[in-house]
Symmetry: C2
Subunit: 459 residues, 2 copies
Amino acid sequence: MTQHILQASAELRGQRFIIAGGGIGGAAGALALSLRGADVTLYERAPEFKEVGAGLQIGPHGVRMLEKWGLKDKVFAAGYLPERMQFRDAITTEPILTMDFDEDFQRHYGGRYLVIHRSDLLSILVEAAQEAGATLHNGVQVLGADTHADGVTVHIEHRAEGTREDVEADILVAFDGIHSVFRGEIVRDEPVPSAYVAYRGTSELPTDPDMSGLKDVIGYIGPRCHFIQYPLRHGELLNQVAVFQSPRYLKALTEGTEVPDDWGNNEEFRTAFDHTHEFIQGRLGSMWLDTWWQMSDREPLDNWVVSDRIIVMGDAAHPPLQYLASGAVMAMEDAECLALYASQAAAKGELDWPSVLAEVSGERAPRCARIQITGRFWGELWHVDGVSRLIRNETFRQAGRTSWYRYVDWLWGYDAGRREYLRDPSKGELPEELQEWEYQIHKIIARREGEAAPEELTI
Amino acid sequence: MTQHILQASAELRGQRFIIAGGGIGGAAGALALSLRGADVTLYERAPEFKEVGAGLQIGPHGVRMLEKWGLKDKVFAAGYLPERMQFRDAITTEPILTMDFDEDFQRHYGGRYLVIHRSDLLSILVEAAQEAGATLHNGVQVLGADTHADGVTVHIEHRAEGTREDVEADILVAFDGIHSVFRGEIVRDEPVPSAYVAYRGTSELPTDPDMSGLKDVIGYIGPRCHFIQYPLRHGELLNQVAVFQSPRYLKALTEGTEVPDDWGNNEEFRTAFDHTHEFIQGRLGSMWLDTWWQMSDREPLDNWVVSDRIIVMGDAAHPPLQYLASGAVMAMEDAECLALYASQAAAKGELDWPSVLAEVSGERAPRCARIQITGRFWGELWHVDGVSRLIRNETFRQAGRTSWYRYVDWLWGYDAGRREYLRDPSKGELPEELQEWEYQIHKIIARREGEAAPEELTI
């Protein structure tokens, strides 16, 4: 695949970008734009580049992009290439679907399936962006920005010093996360908690008597919970994620009482897997107890363009639930799409920023909305009980008997370079069966709040 | 298939049978036993042989038996041979599974799929039993029986005259229905209402503008309801069944209050399909409103033997919910199994009645228990909502993409003559995934009654 590696080019020479946020998306943005010759400055408010969490799954849609950016050897060396992904029933441990990441898979999707420590991926992206010429600052927070005829004035704060400064750029790309400042200029909405909470943990893999042969991503899915295992760092680490529905959160939601801040706490964790197989219960001892992640997403946005010179991307535009393992990949896709469309316009001498931003938003928003909605659906699919669990298991078995590619082609086969949603907007539409589908948790909230929709702002 | 037609034989000559109940099962019993030369007397308490309801589906497991009894031409002439069975989503009308009753199907199951008016099937069986030499009495109720060393003394009542009489027989076969007198001597239990109620109706098919081309069994399945259509009487009649969950029944059950006698009444029927496709709503005008059927089954029985000379069969032994369309067929299987095992034993000069009854019960009880439990599961499968409905639809689609035979081989491929459950009792076991499955309605009842199991009696 060496022929696909992106050679640093110069289409965007002289274009000044500011990127707000130095997570995986921001770093990817700095890299993708720098590789086209842009003048990129990234501001991260934290004192160092750091990712919370542990393992991260990168499907072939993401791996293809990392290859294009020339990072294949580095990420493969830092991460792990699982042989298969296997879903098992969390009550019986019966394998219900095995997805082989074999040569046919690699041919079909043009890339491998990678798992990697979040911090390792971030470090690689940060280093590559710097090598490509981007300037990355820590401890600097982007507070806001004013768009003017020739560009954008970005207000930043040096956090240690407490000093503020205005910086000029042609474009501000807001990769400022789920609590984005700039998203608020498009829509006034709030994160939507899913009632599910994640516990994570890494431990030594080679010395683990039960797990030392693990070469796969294993997902135990069961009523109101699931449990994921896979190796990290070329097999040195075992990554485990235990996710469950918080009874206290759900109770507060249903009864309309105040939601406790610590929903999903250790007390809930202790009994959350009692109905699952004893193997899973026996694994929970190696989870970290001091932190747990209350999982939220937001409603999809139709439009990511804040102004003629500002666009939101990554979690600022489309924070998903984690079920399709595509949050980081979407952010990387956003980055590459912006850099690609801008450099293509520049190469033709037609670099009109409002048009480029509108094109990028028009291509990306339907894609990410579909991932967000399908992720919610996927979460409910994993967590069903009773008769529905038996049907779900049979659906998974049947997918294995035929071809499961049909279910993931839309996700793993996507390439923003084809501009497919721009050319055929209907391609971005959700499958019919998901269009009519209502997220159960959201229904409860909507009912409690008298069906009030999030307020759309005109800017 | 002419070679399979059973030639009347004489193995059971001199054996006196009394059959209690002249429904489809009793009539089939009278026929199957008479065909082996037995001396059969059947008592039906109603003044005439009559079936309530309208259409009846007979899968190939039943059709093979009707052929064996020499009734193929008659039932095919009286009924209808649908080309396909098609399941559709009741909200969208999307076809989700089409089961072709084509030559491959007929080869695979050794028989066709038949739909027939219940009264027509009963008439054919009654007539055939009489032709084979059985004596069938109307207006006579079997009240009870005493087993003795040489046979059984059966207490009957001539209902019109109000006179009672004792009749002697070697064997009493109790086909006396879901409210069987004789089942009570094995177990004290009650019918278990499913909370679902059926409305039925027949109307003229050829003049029906929307339905005149119908050649299939169509089942619209949707949240908390379903709707079935198929032709009857060589296409002259349209048979329709509309089934829904009664909100008033469910409310009483959940709250532990008294269940209203008329649960599922016309008032409930009027709004029960409001959430389904307008096509279905438009069809409900031709349903009969003066009668509705509250659907119940009973818990499976391990043993059908009442005494050395008495056995329960048909709905007396295993009343099912209707979802697998096998109630009548099971009763016919029971009849043929008893006649077959008894005549085989007699042919070898080993006719020991307690052994024969034990063998028949041992072969048949696991089979019918599996149909009862799977029927309950099937009902829940049809009626799921939300995410589960979407999974169910996909499971059905996938079954159509591969082969749906795997799901019905156990049901339609069965032949009691193989004595398969006797030889391998594990064959009667429910599939693992149904063994752990709990019927939702039953859970509510069990919870309310403090988990009390039905009392087993020793006789």
